[in-house]
Symmetry: C2
């Protein structure tokens, strides 16, 4: 490591990004955590993250961290809050710009990274490092708000999915229960799903129709000033 130093007239905080990576296993919403190998908070779990390079935007930094951790490029991420309590990191003043990512669990390559990474269902999240509990709860809050206006849920499902899976996802995110029939009608009414062929997916009691998200139809609707309102 070179010994070059950077000097400023006024104190500057360090800036990091942290990325709450959401996945969906078919029934429950999950987050990807890494176990900290160094002090402080050694042994506790935390969201992947790291310092923002001086010539990259925070978004690029978050995407870089996401790729390092999951192998995914160009995933869906969204900035949701910046955490800046002066004492949130004991080492030095660190401000973190937090993003959440929506990924398909099955696309994430197993943790061949040095750091031990693991998926946790929301109910089973262990104690987290720093202020990451606060980060998680804010991420959830924002995800729940956002899903009312944009069809972000599809980022979490495989290309082809059944209406039931979609309903499970909405129920998991919003922590509510919908009537099966009414959910189907409402969803199909938006006309943003393309019906495909059929197959027996997760619990093969009876064949279920498969659908895919129709981005073109959605953009048309959005053009006309449309609101999802789920």
């Amino acid at each position: 490591m070179e010994e070059k130093m950077y000097t400023y007239k006024y104190p500057h905080p360090a800036v990091t990004t942290d990325c709450v990576i959401f996945g969906f296993d078919g029934m429950r919403l999950q987050v990807l955590l890494v176990e900290r190998g160094l002090e402080p908070c050694k042994g506790k779990w935390a969201f992947p993250g790291g310092f923002v390079k001086i010539d990259e935007s925070c978004e690029d930094g978050a995407l870089r961290e996401l790729e390092e951790e999951t192998g995914l490029t160009g995933a869906y991420i969204e900035q949701f809050h910046t955490f800046s309590a002066p004492d949130r990191d004991p080492r030095e003043r660190v401000i973190t710009v937090a993003y959440y990512a929506l990924v398909r669990i099955q696309d994430v390559k197993a943790g061949d990274d040095a750091a031990k990474a693991e998926w946790f269902a929301l109910d089973d999240v262990p104690q987290l490092a720093f202020d990451h509990e606060k980060i998680l709860s804010m991420a959830l809050k924002r995800l729940r708000e956002r899903i009312h206006f944009e069809p972000i849920g599809f980022e979490l499902l495989p290309e082809k999915f059944t209406i039931r899976q979609l309903q499970n996802l909405y129920e998991a995110i919003l922590d509510v229960r919908f009537d099966r029939s009414n959910f189907t009608k409402k969803m199909l009414h938006f006309n943003i799903l393309t019906q495909l062929e059929e197959t027996v997916w997760p619990t093969p009691k009876r064949e279920a129709k498969l659908y895919s998200f129709n981005n073109e139809s959605y953009n048309e609707l959005k053009q006309k000033g449309f609101r999802l309102e789920f």
Copy 2:
């Protein structure tokens, strides 16, 4: 100015806050801008803002800037986005955490600050400095989203207001038109307004009932898992 310098092993960006201050004049949504007296972007208008001190949170910094500019303490502010393009400030790498504030125009003391400050209606906003156009459009987007879930509009109105003023405000923020009768019914149905006595307010054609926002009722409703859905 002392000659003390601060050194770090890695380059650190500077961190500022910018505050989009919204007000409402009874008909149109306004923003408070200050004219830049120094290069870069000298002569252009910008949102009030400044560097975050090393021992204060960004929110505290934004509140401090807000008070310096308007004299208001403890106003309603909300963080909405952090802007971090590497070249957004030509001087050095500056990351800005942006807030919007909702204030009552009539409570803002005239610009006795050194900087020239002025209210602009949204349609009349001049060319802005740096990436502040982007900041404004993001602020608006977020304000419009937020107003569907929380009764933030009341922060912009005087203590006592008529239903019509409230409707004007919603129409100004969302840029839509509501039916007068239906708007009234819907609003009263939420039971978060307290009816007061009467008076002739802005255009005294006929006496209009005055209302105030009832925070207690609102908190009760929120407790029961209620959604505003406007």
